[in-house]
């Protein structure tokens, strides 16, 4: 399945949007945290997991989704949220802990919920696999359209929840796609020290479903495979497991000294940064001119600026809001 020119540009724009957004977040995150780095300080406290380098996975998959489709994302959710169309202002405001945030500051960066585009995430490894099955089941029971995509990391693929969900999805032929972002690391533990097989696509056979591995962090290849899997799910043929080779350009979270990385790894990764690569390819393929892409990049920067400004300008919720929204009727 080849992306149209529009789809390519959409992918590029969302990759850039995600990157620019995180570049801003990264800077702001350090505000108030120098000279002494204390997570609790600054306008954005808490853990911060950046997704830079992994944007191709999010856009290659989400290019096939509409708002009615569902995504369950991970502790590293920005690229997925952006590609799924989560409102960037409300998302930024949530990360700033503001009243205008997606959940008024209760969730933060690991708990972004936007029901208008059926987006959810979680801080527990592989926790989204089951809910994705549930959304898919709900659509089946209601006779409503929509697929569910569960993103997870290659480290998460060793968690029991993932396997139970694969079996359930396969057994009930649910429209679910499991997408593993294989960035080679689970915090400091290399995939080869955690996973008994080099590639998780071989695990699909254990559930009688198709499995794919996509090399090279290539947005078009991801688009292709994901498109087929999603079409298959929409046609009622059940789930697919896809693992994608991707790269985590940053540390596991901000503050990670990354001393576990072999020497030279980071440099090599930056040389393969997917965003300049895609830019060059778009131009080489005649899909866009430098000017087109400059315009896209400028628009992305502007969108990010607006979102960050919105977040900065927004007020904090009253502290007593901590006590509300525990139950639905409150």
């Amino acid at each position: 399945m080849d992306p149209t020119k529009d789809q390519k540009l959409w992918m590029y724009e969302n990759m850039v949007l995600s990157r620019r957004f995180e570049e801003r977040i990264e800077k702001i995150y350090l505000e108030g945290k120098t000279p002494a780095f204390n997570m609790a300080d600054g306008p954005i406290p808490g853990e911060m997991h950046l997704s830079n380098g992994q944007e191709p996975v999010a856009v290659g998959v989400c290019a096939h989704l509409t708002a009615e489709d569902a995504v369950t994302a991970t502790h590293r959710p920005h690229h997925q949220a952006i590609a799924k169309g989560v409102d960037l202002k409300a998302m930024a405001a949530e990360i700033f802990g503001k009243a205008t945030g997606l959940s008024g500051g209760r969730g933060g960066h690991m708990h972004l919920f936007d029901p208008s585009v059926n987006f959810a995430c979680a801080g527990i490894i592989a926790q989204g696999c089951g809910p994705a099955c549930g959304t898919a089941l709900s659509r089946k029971l209601q006779g409503k359209p929509g697929v569910a995509v569960s993103f997870l990391g290659e480290g998460a693929a060793n968690q029991g929840a993932f396997h139970e969900a694969m079996n359930l999805a396969a057994l009930w032929k649910l429209p679910v796609i499991f997408v593993i972002e294989d960035n080679a690391w689970g915090i400091s533990v290399a995939k080869s020290d955690a996973t008994s097989v080099p590639r998780n696509d071989v695990r699909a056979a254990g559930y009688g479903i198709p499995g794919h591995y996509i090399e090279g962090n290539d947005p078009y290849a991801i688009f292709d495979v994901a498109g087929q899997a999603i079409a298959r799910a929409r046609a009622g043929e059940g789930p697919t497991l896809i693992e994608v080779e991707t790269y985590r350009l940053a540390g596991h979270f901000m503050g990670d000294a990354e001393q576990y990385r072999p020497k030279g790894e980071k440099e090599a990764l930056f040389a393969r940064d997917p965003i300049p690569a895609m830019r060059a390819r778009l131009i080489a393929d005649g899909d866009a001119t430098e000017k087109d892409l400059d315009r896209i990049e400028a628009r992305a920067a502007e969108t990010v600026d607006e979102a960050i400004q919105f977040a900065r300008d927004s007020a904090l919720a009253p502290e007593t809001d901590a006590l509300t929204a525990v139950f639905a009727t409150q």
Partner: protein, 338 residues
């Protein structure tokens, strides 16, 4: 039609639960049931009997033995507009799936700032007394009630069982519905006659978060839930023979906890005994006593007491288990030691 036609609809808790689910499934397309052996078998404890015949295997779904998968799937379905009722066969199995329960089901409402509701019921069996040993006999009331984000109820009789189940299914928040095996009215688990009561055929709700004085008295307040209520009522009978008038409070709901009803009763009697089949320490009994004492310690004529399960795993041998379980005699003895 007439709810007052008593003695004609004495149901077991198992039947009352199944009827509540049935009626709600008839009324609301969004309700469906998932769990192990809840289809053809009708639930190991009988509380889904007949449902698969009426509603089919799509809406009454047997699941693999994958509690994490199907409970978290219920969360996803609930957030997508359905109203799942899922069964965790024994509460003792919560350890394989508690993340789905307490980190997902219980918290997604909050994490979403109230923008996502998780209207689901998790029903699960509790309790021992039939020698099923340490991985099949626990109550774990305190474990569930301690963690925020889920309502927790436990009926002591069929009337409440039906009304609470209906209320739970209609609630937009997740409700953990804990039913005691010994009260189910399944003969093979023994039968507590006191749990089999008149139960209206037409649907009704019992309010979640309200305790109930099930026997009035003036000398001592006995507080319990589920099986504890029956132990308390029997103890009250025994105490009455000795001229002691015991008031019995059925908590009905642990979250929200109706402290007021307990406080009012203790304000009247001045004495408190908490009866709980859950482990002694860091659980329900401590919370009830603390709630009373922190309110107004001067109301107490004697130090409060508890009759609970000791802090040991549940032994298999019948005489050992019975030695550990709360019973009416222990309650009477506790009163006498006050």
């Amino acid at each position: 039609m007439l709810d007052t036609q008593t003695n004609e609809r004495r149901l077991t808790i198992a039947r009352a639960m199944a009827e509540a689910i049935q009626q709600e499934m008839q009324a609301d397309e969004r309700v469906f049931v998932m769990g192990e052996d809840i289809g053809a078998l009708g639930g190991v404890f009988g509380n889904t009997r007949g449902l698969v015949d009426e509603f089919g295997r799509e809406r009454v779904r047997d699941t693999p033995i994958s509690e994490t998968a199907f409970i978290s799937a219920a969360v996803g379905a609930a957030m997508d507009g359905m109203r799942p009722v899922v069964e965790l066969m024994f509460v003792d199995f919560f350890g394989v799936c508690f993340d789905a329960i307490y980190n997902l089901m219980a918290k997604n409402t909050y994490f979403s700032g109230g923008n996502c509701a998780v209207p689901m019921v998790l029903m699960t069996s509790t309790g021992g007394g039939y020698s099923d040993a340490g991985q099949h006999s626990q109550c774990l009331y305190g474990t569930f009630a301690h963690l925020p984000g889920m309502k927790v109820v436990s009926p002591s009789n069929a009337y409440d069982a039906k009304g609470l189940m209906t209320a739970a299914m209609r609630d937009d928040s997740p409700v953990v519905y804990m039913f005691h095996k010994g009260l189910q009215g399944m003969g093979w688990l023994g039968t507590e006659e006191g749990a089999i009561v008149d139960t209206p055929e037409t649907g009704y709700t019992v309010e979640i978060g309200k305790a109930r004085v099930v026997r009035e008295g003036k000398d001592v307040t006995l507080v319990g839930l589920a099986m504890g209520v029956h132990n308390a009522l029997k103890a009250a009978d025994k105490l009455a023979e000795e001229g002691v008038s015991a008031e019995v409070v059925d908590l009905v709901s642990l979250v929200p906890l109706d402290r007021e009803t307990v406080l009012n009763s203790v304000a009247k009697t001045g004495r408190l005994i908490v009866v709980d089949e859950d482990y002694h320490s860091y659980g329900v009994s401590g919370e009830i006593i603390a709630s009373v004492c922190e309110h107004d310690v001067s109301k107490l004529k004697a130090a409060p007491k508890r009759v609970t399960y000791p802090d040991v795993p549940i032994p298999y041998a019948r005489h050992m288990e019975q030695f550990c379980l709360p019973n009416p005699d222990k309650i009477v003895a506790a009163y006498k030691a006050m």
